[in-house]
């Protein structure tokens, strides 16, 4: 099987071609403002470098931080209406109550509270009021808002009100994007609603970006299917991703960690992914990224997604290096993708970490003669500062005193030379494109969402049955049976149905079966 993995980051678009479990070629191209040109360039380069015929490619997997970055940087976000069904309950804490002010402003802060919602046992808090919703729809239309997030109290128990309200808004606002919270999240109104609102404000962007991916792939003559990777490292098809862009959050760190594990063969390690502007640090346990435990914030907003436990520092290949009275500072500001014009070695005027590495003679990049004036003392002090920053974050990621290796990946890996904090450093082959490798080896999942009557079957038997079905669904989706792991189990009692009814959701994931 021939797979292409692509990672579309803020600075670079990387691509790899894999034949089975072999990496044939990997390339880096600059990310372009239209996304598409960068993807086309990366695809053409990687096909040329691998000598692969585009027609032979079976599947393309894309990981992208584009949607996360849009939220974090508050750009390209659509004006969004957040409608919550639950009055008179919930009025004390309206939608977006815990959002950072600047993000709320970026999407307009349009919130509406309406009647509806269910009690825990399915009883109605108050009936849906169609006239009220039509009034809200008229206000939304008057404000020319084209995307709506709908949340209803206890919608994971009963989704009827969200669906009905969705239909009312779809009729009243033709062409509007409608996001229903029960399709994205679990119990926990604010977190689920937050995810739905973030999804809604990304729908215009996702339509544009997914179309760019589709066109880029078509333009290079690749006929195979294409997928996007989700936050838990599994695949979703393009149409689904377009509807649920929020599910791509944190897929970047997941891909880089899984790519690092795959390329190095090391299963327990700390992974440092050094990009142009930031370094992400996380840890691998048995080849999987360690998951964050409680609520995870994205761009300052609380969610309850399954995500890897990663933190970032402002250190990358484009980080500014500045001498101050207190000594040398590195980052957090960076030239980012403008490194190819602004760094000294490329004829620019800004001193970056990459310039210092080239001046030290540790890496051949750009024009070394332009950094000949940097003194050995300055080089040494900059390198000491960089290593201190890396040591600090690696130390934070360590859970036990055992000497785990540190796998260093990403384009900015050239900054690292020698052990970090006494820990062995592993720089695998193709380290610069580990993210794209992680996307190429993304897992497939099988999900089951079923109601069991626990009056007729024991809870243990119901869970075992659901796990079995999820496993079979994963196998049917292409997973290798011996690699399957159950990653999520949730049961929600549905007290309004007879027979002790319980909704069981199970997700199984496994490695894609590669011939």
């Amino acid at each position: 099987m021939i797979r292409i993995g692509i990672d579309v980051g803020g600075t670079n678009t990387d691509a790899v071609v894999m034949d089975g479990t072999q990496v044939i070629a990997g390339v880096k191209a600059a990310t372009t403002p239209d996304v598409m040109t960068g993807v086309v360039n990366a695809l053409r380069d990687v096909l040329a470098a691998s000598g692969m015929d585009a027609g032979k490619v079976d599947v393309v997997m894309i990981g992208t931080t584009h949607f996360t970055n849009a939220v974090v940087q508050r750009r390209d976000l659509a004006q969004t209406a957040a409608v919550r069904l639950g009055l008179p309950a919930t009025a004390s804490l309206p939608p977006m109550v815990d959002w950072p002010e600047d993000l709320k402003r970026a999407i307009g802060g349009h919130t509406y509270l309406a009647h509806g919602g269910n009690e825990f046992d399915g009883r109605v808090i108050s009936p849906l009021d169609e006239a009220e919703l039509l009034g809200i729809a008229a206000d939304i239309a008057a404000k020319r808002i084209n995307t709506v997030a709908i949340s209803s109290v206890f919608s994971p128990v009963s989704s009827d009100f969200e669906k009905q309200a969705g239909e009312i808004f779809a009729r009243a606002l033709p062409g509007a994007h409608i996001t229903l919270s029960h399709e994205i999240g679990r119990i926990g109104l604010l977190e689920r609603e937050n995810a739905a609102i973030m999804n809604a404000c990304l729908r215009d962007l996702s339509a544009h970006v997914i179309e760019a991916f589709r066109k880029a792939i078509a333009e290079t003559g690749i006929g195979g299917k294409f997928f996007l990777t989700q936050n838990d490292g599994t695949l979703m098809d393009a149409a689904f991703a377009e509807k649920f862009p929020v599910l791509t959050f944190a897929s970047g760190p997941t891909n880089s960690m899984r790519g690092a594990a795959f390329l190095s063969g090391v299963k327990d390690a700390i992974v440092v992914d050094i990009g142009g502007t930031t370094s992400d640090v996380g840890s691998l346990q048995k080849g999987f990224p360690r998951q964050a435990t409680v609520a995870v914030e994205v761009g300052g907003v609380r969610t309850n997604f399954r995500m890897p436990d990663v933190f970032s520092i402002g250190l990358g290949g484009g980080s500014h290096v500045v001498e101050t009275a207190q000594g040398i500072t590195v980052g957090p500001t960076s030239v980012g993708y403008r490194i190819i014009t602004e760094a000294l070695i490329f004829g620019g005027k800004t001193l970056t970490t990459s310039d210092v590495v080239v001046a030290a003679g540790r890496y051949d990049l750009g024009d070394r003669s332009r950094v000949g004036h940097i003194t050995p003392d300055f080089i040494a002090r900059t390198q000491t500062r960089i290593m201190q920053m890396l040591e600090d974050c690696v130390e934070r990621s360590r859970l036990s005193p055992e000497p785990l290796p540190v796998i260093v990946v990403g384009g900015g890996s050239i900054l690292v030379d020698g052990p970090i904090g006494g820990l062995e450093v592993v720089k695998p082959n193709h380290f610069a494109v580990a993210n794209a490798v992680g996307a190429a080896i993304a897992q497939v999942s099988g999900e089951i969402d079923r109601v069991y009557a626990l009056a007729e079957i024991s809870r243990d038997a119901a869970l075992a049955d659901a796990k079995e079905r999820a496993t079979e669904a994963a196998v049917a989706a292409g997973a290798r049976r011996d690699s399957i792991e159950i990653v999520d189990v949730e049961d929600v009692p549905l007290a309004y149905l007879p027979g002790n009814a319980t909704r069981v959701r199970v997700k199984a994931v496994g490695e894609l079966h590669v011939a």
Binding site: A89, T90, L93, L190, E395, R396, R459, D491
Partner: protein, 360 residues
């Protein structure tokens, strides 16, 4: 009146974190309570925390609280006026002005609900509570052991319904209020246990809101200075680590106005090969390791995230999470036959006598 400390909106972060630790897995989502308190403080001004000795013996003190199933509270947020309505209605019923607000339960959401009323009324808030932790039922307060009646009590829901209860015992208050809470949709807000300053000086567990703030601060500082946060909490509370493991199964349902169930864990690292089980009725009531009962109420059982030391509620337990369980000593007020009868393992239906984990 001497003010211990003035609590501003940003101070609620530490209090909610500490409240979640003393919440022993239950007590309702402190995140929701924190947001409600912050909204109230931003709108009405900061809250003055005072020592109980600042109050006159004939002062009137009233605790407020939220009751119900924590799962419901994370989903069906309050309407917003329930607490102040219950408080004002009780004041009218008592026929005299209330002088100070008290915390009923310094764990979970109820470590923060009194701040909402204190901010809205401008009354001082007493530094202390009726449990020194969280418990699932409303008669489980030190006030009961000092003969304070829970009623007259006012119970309000999100729809605008309110109920006045007059009962023959605090156990009956729990039964009737619980039934009403279930009908109200699984959560309700209330004002109860009105008492004089003189009684409160004997009946409360002192200093627990300050303890919540200090616990939150301990975690925040541990994080800032890269000290092991779990150890920092252990040191601060004289706690002991009883397990480190991965959640293997959670059986959780909303029954009779409570979140009931159990969570099973498989050990990791130093506990590899061992199993662990937590039973909960809103709060963690009993911990079993390798099939043997290890800790029961009134000793506290709390669960923290290993890396950050952040407390994890029974409601937030999810398949696959790696967590550390701690046992914490209870307030001495519970360490007598009356206290054990009120909150010990036999009350919750376990056929086992209470054994103080820290004396075993």
């Amino acid at each position: 009146m001497k003010i211990l400390r003035t609590i501003k909106a940003e101070d609620m972060e530490d209090i909610a974190t500490g409240g979640a630790i003393l919440g022993t897995g239950g007590g309702g989502d402190p995140y929701i309570g924190k947001l409600m308190a912050q909204e109230a403080i931003r709108k009405h001004g900061p809250v003055n925390l005072i020592d109980i000795d600042e109050l006159a013996d004939d002062a009137l003190v009233v605790p407020v609280a939220m009751m119900g199933a924590p799962t419901v509270m994370t989903e069906k947020l309050p309407q917003g006026d329930e607490l102040i309505n219950a408080f004002r209605a009780l004041e009218q019923l008592l026929g005299r002005k209330i002088d100070a607000v008290l915390c009923g339960e310094a764990g979970g959401v109820n470590s923060t609900t009194p701040f909402v009323v204190a901010a809205m009324t401008g009354l001082p808030l007493v530094d202390g509570d009726g449990m020194g932790r969280a418990y699932p039922e409303l008669q489980m307060v030190t006030f009961t052991m000092h003969g304070v009646s829970a009623t007259p009590m006012v119970l309000c829901d999100d729809k605008g319904n309110s109920l006045v209860l007059n009962t023959v015992s605090n156990a009956w208050t729990e039964r009737l209020a619980r039934a009403a809470t279930v009908e109200m949709g699984g959560s309700a807000l209330l004002a109860f246990y009105s008492m004089t300053g003189a009684v409160a000086k004997k009946a409360i567990v002192r200093g627990t809101l300050t303890l919540c703030a200090q616990l939150g601060e301990t975690l925040r500082q541990a994080k800032a200075s890269h000290v092991d946060p779990v150890n920092a909490v252990v040191d601060k509370l004289g706690a002991r680590v009883i397990f480190h493991g991965r959640v293997k199964d959670i059986d959780r349902r909303t029954v009779g106005g409570f979140a009931r169930g159990s969570a099973r864990f498989d050990g990791v690292e130093e506990w590899k090969g061992h199993t662990f089980k937590l039973d909960f009725q809103n709060e963690f009531l009993m911990a079993e390791r390798d099939g043997e009962i290890l800790v029961t109420t009134p000793d506290l059982i709390t669960v923290l995230e290993a890396e950050s030391g952040r407390p994890v509620t029974a409601d937030a337990l999810r398949y696959g999470l790696r967590l550390i369980a701690l046992a914490l000593p209870s307030n001495p007020q519970w360490q007598n036959p009356a206290g054990i009868a009120l909150v010990g393992p036999r009350y919750f239906g376990y056929d086992v006598d209470y054994r103080n984990y820290f004396e075993a």
